[in-house]
């Protein structure tokens, strides 16, 4: 028993490494302050669910993490690299789109509406970016794509076009497409919100299996039972703030903050 634990220790140390750090991020949209100085850290191999009522700023925060939207103030770091900007003499300067694209390649993102490319087959959707961005050879990219499709249970759909797949299948393809870039971290923006209720489990099962394989993830979701089952960390947002965070088991069963309690009571 002692022996096993001593082997487990180095693994635990690696997992203490902070992979994502959100440092005092502010975002203004019109006259509305969407993010009000958000701080957040996600360690390597950790899965964090972002919960909270609509309009709390969850999706905006997630979109700042790969600079699909730029924070107005504050910096997001992935693996200690500032995202969307460059530090020079204590100042931060924006990167241009070209430089940004290199950073985004290592951050996988899955959207509420899947956003598969409708003019490409499932296979083309998956191999395009690895070939064009990573410079993978076609044979290798195809092999990888088939493996990924098999892992999300869609081995037979490679040559279909997205519109012939169900929502759950499309979202699983979208996950495979993001994974094909071998990302350091995966961002999920309400991955099941556009799905029929009886299809959500298809997608949630895939996310669960990613967690088991140690993928670092941030998941914006309304599925509170899923957040609990996933057993990772949870951060609850309201009105542009993170009002409560911690292990799912604690936050979801014994919430400290009044608004968390209200939100959970309402959502369940």
């Amino acid at each position: 028993m002692n022996h096993i634990e001593s082997i487990a220790v180095p693994t635990m140390n690696i997992r203490e490494k902070t992979l994502l750090r959100v440092d005092n991020v502010w975002k203004v949209r019109g006259s509305n302050v969407v993010l009000k100085g958000v701080d957040l850290t996600v360690r390597e191999g950790e899965a964090l669910c972002l919960l909270g009522p609509s309009g709390a700023g969850k999706s905006t925060l997630l979109r700042c993490m790969n600079a699909i939207e730029m924070a107005d103030r504050g910096v997001v770091y992935v693996d200690d690299v500032p995202i969307g900007c460059r530090e020079k003499n204590g100042h931060f300067y924006r990167l241009n789109e070209r430089e940004l694209s290199h950073q985004r390649a290592g951050i996988g993102m899955v959207f509420q509406n899947f956003n598969l490319f409708p003019h490409m087959s499932v296979l083309q959707n998956i191999i395009n970016a690895p070939m064009r961005v990573r410079g993978l050879r076609k044979a290798d990219a195809v092999e990888q794509a088939h493996a990924l499709l098999a892992s999300v249970g869609l081995a037979d759909k490679a040559n279909h076009y997205p519109r012939h797949l169900s929502g759950g299948q499309q979202q699983r393809v979208a996950i495979a497409r993001a994974l094909a870039m071998d990302p350091q971290i995966m961002l999920f923006d309400e991955p099941t919100s556009a799905l029929d209720p009886h299809l959500t489990h298809e997608v949630l099962d895939v996310i669960r299996s990613l967690r088991e394989r140690g993928m670092t993830m941030v998941i914006v979701t309304h599925e509170i039972p899923f957040a609990r089952d996933l057993g990772g960390a949870v951060a609850v947002m309201a009105d542009g703030f993170i009002i409560e965070e911690g292990p799912a088991s604690t936050v979801l069963t014994k919430p400290v903050h009044e608004r968390t309690r209200a939100f959970l009571a309402h959502a369940l």
């Binding site: 699909i68 694209s101 390649a105 993102m109 956003n115 598969l116 490319f117 076009y161 012939h164 979208a174």
Partner: protein, 299 residues
């Protein structure tokens, strides 16, 4: 209709038989319309066959006349060049117009405002007479700086050059608007997905936005192509030997005006028909993934 009603009677019997049937109403008006249209068609055919003014033998003689064929060739060449200029300039102008930069938007907007606003006939004659504004075209530093290269305008801008520029720039302005319509029709989520995968801005445009915009761009572009083909006849005013100018040359010699205009009309119709077929196949190609029954090769 008959087949389905017997099927119902056979399988479901009395209950189906009792349900009222939908009959088509009598349509007397249709027969009157068919009669009137038939009469009009008959009159036109009669005129075509009997009226000596049509001079069908002359038409037949000149259909394959070398001057006319040269004109056809020039019309095709000019149409293709005009459309190429239209797309090569129009696509960047459209991209400028949907960009975030106000400066680029302003430049693109000004281009479209000017070249769409001035009639092509005016522009043709203008480019043809550019020499009176700038006797020499040169490359160098403006406002009295050194000149690296200089050519006289009358040499540089031939009839063909004037036609190409005049019609090409007008075409570019229209194409820019068509392409812009296609670009804004693409779901913004597609751009986000492409960015999130690490595609650069140019890759996003080429691999994600344009292929999807094509579905919207192709049908009006086919229309523009057909329009450009006919607009090349305007170039006859700057004495360019395209189809219209060729038949003008012929009928100013032999005074067979109507038969030669028929020759021109027939050639235009033939070329437009070919373009229409081409457009059909292009549209089919670019609706990949959007059509109801499309399945991948292995499906």
């Amino acid at each position: 209709m008959v087949a389905s009603s017997t099927l119902l009677d056979m399988e479901f019997g009395d209950r189906a038989r009792a349900a009222p049937r939908m009959l088509s109403p009598g349509n007397g008006g249709r027969w009157i319309a068919i009669g009137l249209i038939g009469l009009a068609v008959a009159w036109v055919v009669y005129q075509i066959l009997v009226n000596p003014g049509f001079q069908w033998p002359v038409v037949a003689d000149f259909m394959l006349d070398p001057t006319v064929l040269e004109g056809v060739g020039m019309t095709i060449k000019l149409t293709i060049l005009v459309m190429m200029i239209g797309m090569v300039i129009g696509v960047p102008i459209a991209v400028m117009n949907v960009s975030q930069s106000r400066l680029l938007k302003l430049c693109g907007g000004a281009f479209i405002w000017f070249f769409r606003g001035v009639p092509p006939l005016v522009q043709l004659v203008f480019w043809y007479n550019l020499a009176s504004l700038f006797p020499d075209l040169m490359l160098g530093i403006p406002f009295g700086g050194p000149k690296f290269f200089s050519v006289s305008s009358t040499d540089a801008i031939s009839s063909f050059g004037a036609a190409m520029l005049g019609l090409g720039l007008v075409e570019a302005a229209y194409m820019a608007e068509i392409v812009r319509g296609g670009l804004v029709a693409v779901d913004p989520g597609q751009v986000e997905a492409s960015k999130a995968l690490g595609h650069g801005p140019f890759q996003t445009l080429r691999m994600v936005i344009l292929p999807q915009a094509m579905k919207v761009i192709i049908p009006p572009t086919g229309n523009q192509f057909i329009g450009a083909l006919k607009f090349t006849s305007l170039a006859s005013v700057v004495a360019l030997g395209e189809l219209m100018h060729s038949v003008e040359l012929v009928y100013s010699n032999n005074f067979q005006i109507v038969p030669l205009l028929i020759v021109a009309a027939l050639w235009y119709v033939i070329m437009v028909s070919i373009l229409t077929v081409g457009q059909h196949f292009l549209e089919r190609h670019y609706s990949r993934g959007f059509r109801q029954k499309t399945m991948g090769a292995g499906a």
